[in-house]
Symmetry: C5
Subunit: 384 residues, 5 copies
């Protein structure tokens, strides 16, 4: 639904300058202390939702004061703290203090241009993933995930995500999620993040199909700047998903004890999906490249045909005009028998018309032999 | 036979939008529980055929009720359950219960867009392979294979496969198949799946040859959108076969005990065939790329020749016409001795004709020197 | 700030010949002894600044005589000797003697065209890194860093660097820098070197965006030689950063005992940043390539449209002119009833005008059918 | 010698369809038993030559009945059975029985489209190599080699090979071949197979040189379809030699005991040669690609020059003709003083001639300024 | 100095056919015994120079009879036998006997088309390297080096090398060379070989800069066949240096005991230089590719501009000429009031002139609107 009007947005906003702006926003000054946070734009209030559950208990609550989190520290079950918005640096620092996060982890959370990755810290794993979230000048949103023994903290760039179904599964105790630990929740979230790329890529494939149809009907009308934008987006998506694949591999090999053995099958499945995503992207990129080639060759072919029309017309009529011009000259036949006596011949005019006809017929035969006239028509049928 | 009219189908159905539709059909909602199955289109009845054999026994039977399968659980020999159609999710779930399949295995079976792969479960191996099955909007069909100690279950997307010869070998006890275990049957099926790509690729190579002949005769008539479709199909086939190669390597290294040592030679042979397939695909792709280059250069070369014709005609006759026009001017010679006295000269007309002839000859010599006229002809002989 | 006027400089200086000159300056004669130093241009005085600190002490001082360095040899803390300028070979040799550097290390310090690398010597690590320093004919500057147990020596090509914030952190005891050893200072410097590429790459991305906007508005005005220069610079930057990534990996795996275990997290973070840099460069390069394609296809498309205008005008008016020329011939109707009797017909002129109108209309219909006239307009709307 | 007329054959036979036919000939039906042999075309009689030797003994004999081979089973020395022709499946099966070959080995021998490879069986090594043998629709011929403790069996596709010098060395006891075991003979044959590619590649390099000379003299006459065929052949050769390199590496690492340690140096040398072959192929491929680029740019450059000639002529003479046409109009000056009074002026004609001359000169200056006229000449000198 | 006139030679000799001839000269017949030497051209006398030194002794002497070498066999120090010329096969065989070289080593020495490599023999290492030696049809010369415990033998293809400085260092006892073993001498020679590529590559970079300047000034004058030759040479150099890098890595890992541990730092430095060389080559290749693109797009852009000039002139004047032609028709107004009454109108001529002016102005406005006239000028400023 959200994806439906994506394309029009892309076209409208032009998307140019996106990379630049994303880069520019969040970098600390060169040489700053590791962990230095930089305010990007104005700080929006952070919104925090806590979900705590065990097999038989369930609590969902909005967190207004960060101190409330402390009450849940000893909950026997899984606590998921979902932080939406990473521009309120004070709130981030407080959360970091509460959960004893490494300054570099906090920096990565606040500076939302990280590649997906896994980092292992003494008592938690730090996972960066990206979820599709088409927005002003960007296609994806960073989700940072901290996996501790009994808790998960997720930090999202913006409100809105692809985790609603996971929340629903927790609420309705569907599947094994309520009976499993925080590692299973982490898997469920990463899996949802991965799956969310499928509908997005589908819409890109749709757009490519439209372009493909366009180029088949009439290459000249292909909006190549749209093809260019599409290739840029596919590049960006590949850059978001490629490291995801490695991150999922590292999760399977992780030996911190935080990931249960029974999860390996699930993580392998999720990695499988990221491979499928990369396959789709690769297919789309190859198709885009091939369309570009089709387009270029069509343009050339059409110029060829235009040139033939011009050449035929000019080749036939320029010599004919020359003949006519010759007999339009005003040499005075009364002064000399050599001055255009043809003009006075009885069959002079008819002879010239005959000459012109011969020239015309001669060129016609020439063009038919070269295949410019009959061939043209046949070629149209062939490719039609 | 089935492959013979493949090309025409491709051309007819346009094939555009295929990937999209295949992708769209089978994905569970983002964030759904692992193992969630999604109904794609309407559920077609599943058709199940059981083949049970040992060295001296053989039974083939259609399974109407899934309970019938239970009777064969203790058969001393190999039981092959061949399930055709994966859209009846209830039937799939019942089979999964019967054979205690992992939910993710069932998901992969039902969502038929998996890459070939091998997954090891406690008491069975799960193999995904793809067989060529040219159809509305797709080139291949997923075959999921479960290899247990005494049984094989295969799930096919659609009715119709490349396993008839294997069935015949079982019936006629040809070769060692009746004396071997389920691992040998698995090999026989995967080998048949691999071999089935050869005739398909042959037909693509045939089509390429036809296009190559076309471009040699007259580049302008090359149907480039056919070349484009061909490249797309080759990409898809490469994506189906490439992971097959890895899957066969993993089967050889498998240490679950389900694959006998004597099979390694056979699996290596099968992997060899997948390498040959990839070689053929690579050759076809290189040829297609080279054809595109040939095509583009031919178009350019022909435009060059068209331009030369035009340029020669225009260059020769435009100045001649100018001269004729000059003497078609109506300056009044009776008012002034300077007003076109040439018109009254005795040899005026002849002189102008001579002038025109000289200009004509001059340009002719110029064009011959540049190699546009004599050269043209020689070039035609050269490349003819 | 320094980067702001970078582009204009690039454009002005032409940048051609840069690589060559950089290469030419610093190579010892072929077959010279290892460690042979070669004077490149005139020797500029070296400027040395010493910074010594421990948790509670801090000293900064300009070093005039190299003997002053000896006094700091036994300082209990970290001594950072920052050498600016590497053309005074005598000074370099003295420093090398003082710190017992390997001749090959000295050669690498003086010949500033090294790739980033790490080399391990018995009691120090030798690190080569490059920092952005846009200058006459080069984009980066070599910084050689020697990491000993209690000291750091840095050698810079030129005055001016990206380490001011690090110096400030030492002065203000901000973060853990004053409480940490020389390894942390080395990290802080390398991290600053890495981070300094972000604003530079940002300016390249800005330039690309400008070019992208240009090509969208009117492909013909794209300054392709600027695109060419941009690609060259991106190549150079990639060559500076790519080995940096490997050097940072080697630092993490180093077992000399000079790098504390607590630094690994920091070095990994820094390596992360170099990966991000490479991602940005890759994105820019892909965009540049795609722009080139857009540009070429736009030129071709416009030539197509130019050709159509020409062809339409010529095709319509050349035959019309021919007709007019025919009736401009001066055949003498008084001699023969066959000599242009049309000229004397009552409706002769009107008939010819009608003929011309028919020819005109015929070609118009022909061009509209081919989509040259109406289609043109539609296509403009489409891509506008 | 054999290679000399290779090129003409290629050109004549068109080579199109080769891959297809090679593929089509030898595949067993999909799903057939492993080891199923398929008759390709008609079965030609197999010709078998046995060579047996030890340091002091030597026997060469044509084998008519396969039973004769049995007599040599216990020969104390090396027995080389050279089988020419693999279409007589009965003979192949008898040989396989005699030497107890695995059915899959026999399949690979009969289906001559294998990639070079090494397979280890309990008491022999199975090596597939390819030797150059330019023929109807193929460049190489498969040679299958079985290396046992005291015997070598080679199977060739067709009569004729590159082993004559090896046979001569055996006869004349030149070098160490008569004093060595079957492993040395295997090496000698594989080495001869590798070396035989050098003259073939030389002829391709010759052809490329001819094409390069052609394109230098006049790009328009480059027979690009010959370049296309050349690239195809180089691809095929690369595909034949690339796996050969791996096979030689595996032979060096083989631990079956059939390859003596003293052979490693020789095998490494042979692998070296295959690397050199790949280098030559890579060089040729790069040159072919660069030639294609040269060709395309030359065509474009020439079209540019053609266009300039046309444009100059048309630009100069079309306006001149227009002026002349104006004064060819027949307005009646007797009715009105405004109707072409110029025609009656005393210097009217001279003035018009002067106007025309000025227009002519103006355009000339314009073209010289644009570098179209003087520049043209200079450019010719430059590249000449 | 030697390099200075390299380019002109390249241009003069055409360089075509080089690879072929180099290949053709030195291959033994297919199937020959390993170690078979083939006489390439006529045998030139070999020239041998012996240099023997220890810390306090030094001897240099020309060797006339190979027996002289025997006297130096027991010298306590390092003996360097420098053999110039490898076409006198008898001399080579004698040397091989003296030093007990493997026949394959001798083959590699005589057949000078080897890739750089390292081979380990029981009591010596065999190193092949290539030094730049621009000559008739080749860019590099093979130098084969045998490293024994107390001796080095080098075999050069031709007289002339890059080792003069090494000889000088031995004579003057500069650096540690006189105090070190044969391994250090081997390093010094390989290092000189590597360093000798820098000035050669510098001259290529210079040439590229010249071409780059040319294309910037006027793309049409770019001598693309020079660019093509340059790319070929860079390919050849890359092929000479790439394996050198691996050889230097293998030397560092060598465990024969012939390479002292203290040499590793030096070999690593030398490997560093080969990496720098490959970086330069890669930069040059990318620049060459980008120049080709610039060139092609410039040609297309210029054709575009040529076409616009033609189209504007033709579009404006062809209709005007048509109008003039109409009023040059000779319809007889005296017969009919409908026959060109305009010719007799009082303001007829002025009206037609006005009509022509309107048409002219109309097209002018049209072209200005399309940006063909004003835009042209602006674009010139932009890229100027
Ligand atoms: Mg930082
Ligand atoms: Mg970070
Ligand atoms: Mg969000
Ligand atoms: Mg998933
Ligand atoms: Mg893929
Ligand atoms: Mg697609
Ligand atoms: Mg899921
Ligand atoms: Mg799955
Ligand atoms: Mg099926
Ligand atoms: Mg098979
Ligand atoms: Mg291949
Ligand atoms: Mg083919
Ligand atoms: Mg073109
Ligand atoms: Mg050196
Ligand atoms: Mg160095
Ligand atoms: Mg500096
Ligand atoms: Mg950093
Ligand atoms: Mg990337
Ligand atoms: Mg960008
Ligand atoms: Mg088979
Ligand atoms: Mg086989
Ligand atoms: Mg043969
Ligand atoms: Mg060559
Ligand atoms: Mg050999
Ligand atoms: Mg190579
Ligand atoms: Mg040999
Ligand atoms: Mg050799
Ligand atoms: Mg030499
Ligand atoms: Mg350069
Ligand atoms: Mg060096
Ligand atoms: Mg590089």
């Amino acid at each position: 639904m959200r994806n439906r009007n994506k394309w029009h947005r892309n076209k409208a906003s032009g998307k140019i300058g996106r990379d630049h702006h994303r880069l520019a926003l969040h970098k600390p000054p060169v040489g700053a202390s590791p962990g230095t946070l930089v305010q990007a734009g104005e700080a929006n209030a952070v919104s925090i939702v806590l979900t705590a559950y065990s097999e038989h208990e369930l609590a969902e609550q909005e967190i207004d004061r960060l101190e409330q989190l402390r009450d849940w520290m000893d909950f026997k079950g899984v606590v998921w703290v979902d932080v939406r918005g990473v521009t309120d640096l004070d709130a981030l620092r407080q959360i970091a203090d509460l959960f004893e996060l490494h300054p570099l982890v906090l920096e990565d959370i606040a500076h939302v241009h990280q590649r997906p990755k896994l980092e292992s810290y003494p008592d938690h794993l730090f996972v960066v993933t990206r979820i599709p979230n088409v927005n002003e000048g960007t296609l994806t949103e960073q989700v940072s995930l901290l996996l501790g023994n009994h808790f998960i903290i997720t930090f999202q760039e913006r409100v809105g995500d692809c985790f609603d179904n996971v929340r629903q599964r927790i609420r309705t105790a569907k599947g094994r999620i309520r009976c499993s630990g925080s590692d299973y929740l982490a898997y469920a979230l990463i899996d949802a993040a991965t799956d969310a790329y499928f509908p997005l890529l589908e819409s890109y494939a749709d757009n490519l199909d439209v372009l493909e149809n366009t180029v088949m009907r009439s290459a000249e009308r292909l909006p190549i700047e749209r093809l260019h934008a599409l290739k840029r987006d596919l590049s960006e998506l590949r850059r978001a998903i490629w490291p995801q694949r490695d991150m999922l591999g590292m999760l399977q090999r992780d030996d911190s004890g935080l990931i249960g053995d029974d999860l390996h099958t699930y993580l392998r499945d999720c990695q499988d999906h990221s491979l499928q995503l990369l396959d789709i992207i690769e297919t789309c990129r190859e198709t885009a490249g091939s369309l570009m080639e089709l387009y270029l060759s069509s343009i050339n072919l059409r110029m060829n045909e235009t040139m033939k029309v011009l050449t035929m017309i000019a080749t036939i009529f320029i010599p004919l005009s020359f003949i006519a011009s010759v007999y339009g000259m005003n040499f005075d036949g009364s002064n000399s028998p050599f001055n255009m006596p043809e003009l006075g011949w009885y069959y002079g005019y008819l002879a010239v018309l005959l000459l012109m006809l011969s020239v015309f017929a001669g060129f016609l035969v020439f063009f038919i032999r070269r295949g410019w006239i009959g061939g043209q028509r046949r070629s149209d049928q062939d490719s039609g």
